[in-house]
């Protein structure tokens, strides 16, 4: 029995098997978008769900998603201005995405995925996620009358699970979903394929085009709401960044609204040094999303996901990327609660933690939008998470967060002036992206244009890198 199961799971490593299952489970034939070299037709992929903008907006409205408030964070802005040079300290705004059904922006992605699954006649949906997306898919499946299975990487080999992940499992079950909880390891993808193969359900992948299209409404609403309240689009939008869907969808929505001057800034929690597939390190981090463990590899290797081509392509859209420390985010969570009266989940405040030091350097006439918030609750709360960290041997103290070492300690700043961001060298990342693909570059014009669009590097800069190989 056990022997048969072992063979079965590893059998899903076979490329043809994967292609067959994903074609059935997504309805997208990814082969049709491929060029002969390294590139593919990204615009055609994004058009492939064949849903009109008006359809996306009305689908979300029907399923209790979108049109969330854009609040002025007057308390946090007051703190920023208290420590800024004269004439500096931008107004910070918060797009309160916790107001969506299921309590996060992930409902935007899930609503569209589940609606498409239903229209195409699937009996159920499956998603692999230990984050808010699971609750979002479960909530949408409940509303739209489909069955739902959520796969989570949940426990280490001791059977210990992060409180935040356990809370998300509870939420999924509250919405009537089946939750498959797995131990640590990349075999999550093989298990997903097995479940898709067995059930014939739709793959509500986070990396499919509809998942990104669903976030475009978020960027669009931000631009529209800012124009209504202030007569112009925001100067900067700060986005909590992990897999890239949030950045990609929000930026595309801003562009759709004509907000071409708005800077899109990604913010991720620094988890450098922790290996995401390590059983021993799994519970030594306090963030299960919005962190560099996902964000960095996805920048230059976006296609290492659960579909053949990732619709989330952050390098195409990012103007700037910064990291913050775990302690900064817990600190920002306290500031939001105690100075703006909003208790929101910690991980979703990654963008807020970055926006505070960013706003400090901008003129006081500038508008900085923090583009998401998420619900807070048992397990998804700084006290629960710091207690869990201490139980796993992590030291918690006050000092300079930049001196913290992920997996060993969490350092909170002594006051808001101690909050900083560290810039990621995006130019180097863009060049690395091209270098990685030079070996398979087929010298076609299509590939050259693809790499330039992927990286936002000038064509001649791309040429220089590929010819130097």
């Amino acid at each position: 029995m056990a022997e048969a199961m072992m063979v079965n799971l590893l059998d899903y490593q076979d490329a043809e098997t994967q292609q067959r299952i994903l074609l059935e489970a997504t309805g997208v034939d990814y082969q049709t978008f491929e060029y002969s070299g390294v590139g593919f037709d990204y615009d055609a992929l994004m058009r492939s769900p064949q849903v009109e903008w008006a359809d996306i907006v009305s689908t979300q409205k029907n399923f209790k998603v979108g049109e969330t408030p854009l609040f002025e964070l007057s308390g946090v802005t007051q703190l920023v201005r208290h420590m800024s040079r004269p004439g500096h300290g931008a107004q910070i705004l918060l797009k309160d995405e916790a107001a969506n059904a299921s309590g996060s922006f992930k409902a935007r992605r899930a609503s569209l995925a589940v609606a498409l699954a239903k229209r195409r006649g699937y009996a159920g949906v499956v998603a692999a996620t230990s984050g808010n997306y699971g609750a979002a898919v479960a909530s949408q499946a409940a509303m739209q009358g489909l069955k739902c299975i959520i796969l989570q990487e949940a426990y280490d080999s001791r059977g210990v699970g992060q409180p935040e992940i356990l809370e998300k499992a509870r939420a999924c079950e509250a919405y009537g979903a089946e939750v498959v909880q797995l131990s640590v390891g990349p075999e999550l993808f093989l298990t997903l394929l097995k479940v898709l193969d067995e059930t014939g359900y739709f793959s509500a992948s986070l990396y499919a085009p509809y998942s990104v299209l669903g976030v475009e409404t978020l960027g669009f609403e931000i631009a529209t709401q800012c124009r209504e309240a202030y007569g112009r689009a925001p100067d900067s939008v700060v986005v909590s960044h992990a897999g890239g869907g949030n950045v990609t969808g929000t930026a595309r929505g801003l562009l759709r609204a004509g907000a071409v001057e708005t800077d899109v800034i990604a913010a991720s929690v620094n988890l450098a040094g922790l290996h995401m597939a390590s059983d021993g390190q799994f519970n030594r981090k306090s963030f299960t999303t919005s962190h560099t463990g996902f964000a960095m590899p996805f920048l230059d290797q976006p296609d290492r996901v659960d579909v053949p081509r990732n619709a989330c392509r952050p390098l195409r859209y990012l103007d700037r990327m910064v990291t913050v420390e775990q302690g900064d985010v817990f600190y920002a969570t306290e500031l939001l609660a105690q100075f703006d009266g909003l208790e929101r989940g910690p991980a979703g405040n990654t963008a807020l933690a970055a926006a505070i030091p960013i706003a400090r350097e901008l003129p006081d006439t500038a508008l900085v939008v923090v583009q998401e918030s998420e619900y807070s609750g048992a397990g998804k709360n700084p006290y629960a998470q710091l207690a869990f960290a201490r139980d796993n041997g992590i030291e918690v103290s006050v000092g300079d967060p930049r001196k913290s070492s992920p997996g060993a300690n969490i350092i909170l700043p002594a006051n808001p002036e101690g909050m900083t961001v560290t810039d990621v060298d995006l130019r180097a990342t863009r060049e690395k992206y091209v270098r990685r693909r030079s070996l398979h570059f087929d010298r076609s014009e299509a590939d050259l244009v693809f790499l330039a669009e992927e990286t936002r590097l000038p064509v001649n800069a791309v040429e220089e890198i590929v010819w130097s190989k």
Partner: protein
């Protein structure tokens, strides 16, 4: 702990033995089993530790060891953390400086 047929329980299943994991993963992960936990309705009267069959809420049959006859949500808001608890008062004092 015994569990009655039809009750909602959680099972644990061995998916991959230690040493038979996907190649290229960290050593500490490769050296432990790959496990799955799923909850569902129990097919027969059983006790914790027994090999059992369950039917999940989506109607799938899953075989595994009965791990928990009465699954519970035990995650909490946590104890008050002394470092975090000081943040609000400290920042209020800082604002007055």
């Amino acid at each position: 702990m015994p569990a009655r047929k039809g009750s909602f329980v959680r099972v644990k299943c061995l998916l991959l033995e230690p040493g038979n994991r996907k190649s290229g993963i960290p050593e500490d992960t490769a050296n432990v089993a790959y496990e799955m936990r799923v909850a569902g309705y129990l097919a027969e009267d059983s006790s914790e530790g027994d090999q059992v069959q369950i039917t999940t809420v989506t109607g799938r049959s899953v075989n595994g060891a009965l791990e928990d006859a009465q699954p519970a949500y035990t995650h909490t808001f946590g104890p008050i953390d002394p470092v975090l608890h000081e943040v609000g008062p400290r920042v209020k004092a800082w604002l007055k400086r």
